[in-house]
């Protein structure tokens, strides 16, 4: 490293020059947090987000290793790049946390979410709902003469798009699971 030649008044070598010029840009990241499935672990993780003012856009939790009592928490969060780094560091230092994976930063990943939509109506709207469901590869998992429940799996964007289309066709209720995600490739 070269000598520090800093002129008085200059901030050329200031740490602040390292600051990302896109500082105020809000990024959305999908984090996978592998934790011990012990009592209160979800409250602990959520408490970190609320206590420090971080956002949770989506949250999915389930035990993924029954023998090892490990759960995987997939959380979609948003914030400036600094905040995202800080969230990962704060999660990483928690005692029951084994690993924090940033699926957005670690390269391409697959994200899937499941949604159930109840659409009620008759006549042309009902036919149109069924037709669109077919296009989106949503399945009708319950049907009456004036309603369907569609099951759709896909990226959150796809589910958003399908939801918007169903709204004028009689969408009355929706349940979404939140995102499950894995990085692509063998690792």
């Amino acid at each position: 490293m070269s000598a520090l030649k800093i002129e008085k008044g200059s901030s050329r070598h200031s740490a602040y020059d390292l600051r990302n010029p896109n500082d105020e840009i809000i990024e959305t990241h999908t984090l996978a947090v592998v934790v011990d499935n012990e009592a209160g672990v979800l409250a602990r993780v959520i408490g970190l987000f609320s206590g420090r003012g971080y956002n949770i856009d989506s949250l999915t939790v389930a035990e993924v290793d029954h023998m090892g009592h490990r759960s995987r928490i997939t959380v979609v969060t948003s914030g400036t790049p600094e905040v995202i780094v800080q969230i990962k560091a704060q999660l990483g230092r928690m005692v029951p946390v084994h690993a924090v994976h940033d699926l957005t930063a670690d390269g391409p990943s697959v994200e899937r979410e499941l949604a159930l939509l109840k659409v009620t109506g008759t006549g042309e709207k009902r036919v149109e709902a069924l037709r669109l469901a077919d296009i989106f590869r949503a399945n009708a998992v319950d049907s009456t003469l004036e309603s369907f429940i569609f099951s759709i799996a896909g990226s959150p964007d796809k589910i958003d798009a399908f939801t918007e289309l169903m709204r004028p066709l009689g969408l009355t209720e929706i349940a979404r699971t939140g995102v499950a995600a894995l990085t692509r490739g063998p690792k």
Partner: protein, 584 residues
């Protein structure tokens, strides 16, 4: 050899196996089985406090003055909630502490039982980790893991909530060596490449400074020694946060004094103008940085911290090094020596000349008085008359705390106990009790304010019961001095509720508690009274009536950078700008 025993017995056994010789606590319904075991086993000394907050602060004092974890035992419900302030204080200042709380029996949890509180829920954000143990077989391993978590990595408080039926039931005891090791193993060695990069930077630095904090003390005595070696070998100036005082001796040649809001002029100016800042175990707290955008604008910054989340949290770092202070300093020293101990000596000489100019301002100068005791004068005399002792100083929170940090000098680590991060009034008396328990023959002084002192006054009873000769040195201005100072600076001298109209007679109070009281108001009587206080073998309340309207200077007004300090003769009206006013 795994043994069968009750949960309550396990608690005592586990504490003994962890090397605990003293606990601070208060019994109640949900911990009666544990107290029964303490009664039958004299291996652990129990200090009965008068309020559970006192137990937590006493454990903090014990921990800070010994480097060992402090242990607290309290009952369910109010016992646990009363301890919360002390637990939060320990979290903010990274003090290792193990808190054992009783809980209603497992089959009654959730029924709003008598003295039931969701202790793990309440303490989740104020502990490093906590556990509710529902199975006696898991109790011993959980306690051992609790000690491991409290003392590894960045230290902090842990809490173990033990329902009463778990204490009565019999299970298998595991010793610390038999208990499963958790995966929690924070990294202690720093990245060698980054340490080398830092060494390269310090070889050429023109205006370097060491900025050290409580992490050096927490890392242990070796870290303080290595820091001294490093500072002496490089000749770099060193300043420290409130929490780090004593890691480098105040009598050392390179010492600039404390930095920050009420830090010394030379320390803050050097921080502002440096070109290489080496942060060792400090966390860029807002009391230190002032206005972030103008914080040390020309420097490259190294940050050595065992907690990865501290790095780049507040200030962007050029040399981030995650690791234990002692390990990293050892590596840095070794690498620097191996590369030929290079330094930019001509530039350093100029840097020191500049620093000497700042020092010559003598920022701690205050207006002396023949008739009233200036708080600064009281501390100067206390310093002069006690420095020959290996003394331990605690403080409460406020002006007196800052004056104590400015006017008392510390040449060794673990001699200075103060509530830094949380700023807990009422910390000092119970903390001094914890210190005195750990060091029965030492001179232990709590520098207090009249308002802070009353917040845990009941602990005088504890001091008397255990013959702890703690000296409570009150700088009594009949005011909430720091609140009053801010009201003067910021709120047009409207002193809203910041004075005490009905203070007790502290001398009588001392006598009522079985101690000795001193009342001093004339500067001429001060020395003799201090000598008498030191000589008295028992708890003392020293009521030192000081100037009521003294402000604590120097001061960086909130929202201002390091080079805009208010000095002792500053005009105080409107000293804080509108944007600074919203800051604490």
């Amino acid at each position: 050899m795994a043994q069968q025993m009750t949960g309550a017995r396990m608690v005592v056994q586990a504490l003994k196996d962890q090397g605990v010789d003293v606990v601070f606590g208060y019994p109640g319904g949900a911990v009666l089985p544990i107290y029964d075991e303490l009664f039958q086993d004299q291996g652990i000394k129990h200090i009965l406090v008068r309020h559970e907050q006192g137990a937590a602060h006493a454990a903090e004092g014990y921990a800070r003055s010994t480097g060992k974890p402090g242990v607290v035992i309290v009952t369910s419900g109010p016992g646990a909630t009363n301890a919360v302030t002390g637990i939060t204080d320990a979290l903010m200042d990274s003090i290792p502490m193990v808190v054992l709380t009783g809980q209603v029996p497992t089959f009654m949890i959730g029924s709003d039982a008598f003295q039931e509180a969701d202790t793990v829920g309440i303490t989740r954000p104020c502990t490093k980790h906590n556990w509710l143990v529902k199975d006696t077989d898991a109790l011993a391993a959980t306690i051992h893991q609790g000690f491991h978590v409290a003392t590894s990595g960045r230290p902090g408080p842990v809490l173990i909530d033990i329902p009463k039926d778990v204490q009565f039931a019999t299970g298998t005891y595991l010793s610390p060596t038999e208990a499963p090791v958790g995966h929690y193993q924070p990294r202690v060695r720093g990245d060698v490449e980054m340490i080398t990069a830092l060494v390269e930077a310090l070889e050429t630095a023109e205006r370097p400074i060491f900025y050290t904090g409580g992490g050096v003390i927490n890392s242990g005595v070796l870290a303080s020694q290595l820091l001294r070696d490093f500072v002496d070998a490089t000749g770099f100036p060193i300043t420290s946060t409130l929490m780090g005082l004593g890691a480098y001796p105040a009598s050392g040649k390179r010492w600039l004094g404390m930095l920050g809001m009420h830090g010394l002029y030379e320390a803050n100016m050097a921080m502002h103008d440096c070109d290489l800042m080496i942060n060792i175990g400090a966390r860029f707290d807002d009391r230190i940085t002032g206005r972030i955008a103008d914080f040390s604008p020309e420097s490259r910054k190294a940050h050595i911290d065992i907690d990865p989340s501290s790095i780049n949290k507040v200030v962007r770092t050029d040399f981030p090094i995650v690791g234990d202070v002692a390990h990293v300093l050892e590596d840095a020293l070794r690498i620097w020596k191996a590369r030929g101990r290079r330094l930019n000596k001509p530039a350093l000489a100029k840097w020191w000349a500049q620093i000497e100019e700042w020092k010559a301002i003598r920022c701690l100068t205050y207006k002396r008085s023949e008739t009233t005791i200036k708080p600064q004068y009281a501390l100067e005399r206390l310093e002069a008359l006690t420095k020959k002792y290996d003394r331990f100083i605690c403080t409460d929170v406020g002006q007196h705390q800052m004056w104590a940090a400015q006017f008392l000098n510390f040449d060794a680590p673990n001699r200075w106990m103060t509530s830094g991060g949380l700023g807990t009034m009422g910390y000092g008396l119970p903390a001094s009790i914890g210190v005195q328990v750990a060091h029965p023959d030492a001179l232990v002084i709590n520098v207090a304010g009249d308002a802070s002192f009353l917040m845990n006054i009941q602990e005088m009873g504890t001091a008397r019961q255990y013959d702890l000769p703690v000296k409570q040195f009150i700088l009594n201005n009949e005011r909430l001095g720091m609140v009053r100072q801010w009201q003067e600076l910021l709120h047009g001298q409207r002193y809203s509720h910041s004075w005490s109209e009905a203070l007790p007679d502290f001398v009588k109070l001392a006598e009522a508690f079985g101690g000795k009281g001193f009342l001093v108001s004339d500067p001429k009587d001060l020395d003799d009274a201090i000598m008498e206080m030191i000589a008295y073998d028992g708890p003392v309340i020293f009521d030192c009536l000081v100037e009521k309207h003294e402000n604590c200077f120097p001061m960086i007004p909130s929202g201002e950078p390091h080079n805009k300090m208010l000095m002792g003769d500053a005009k105080t009206q409107d000293a804080i700008s509108t944007s600074g006013a919203v800051l604490v």
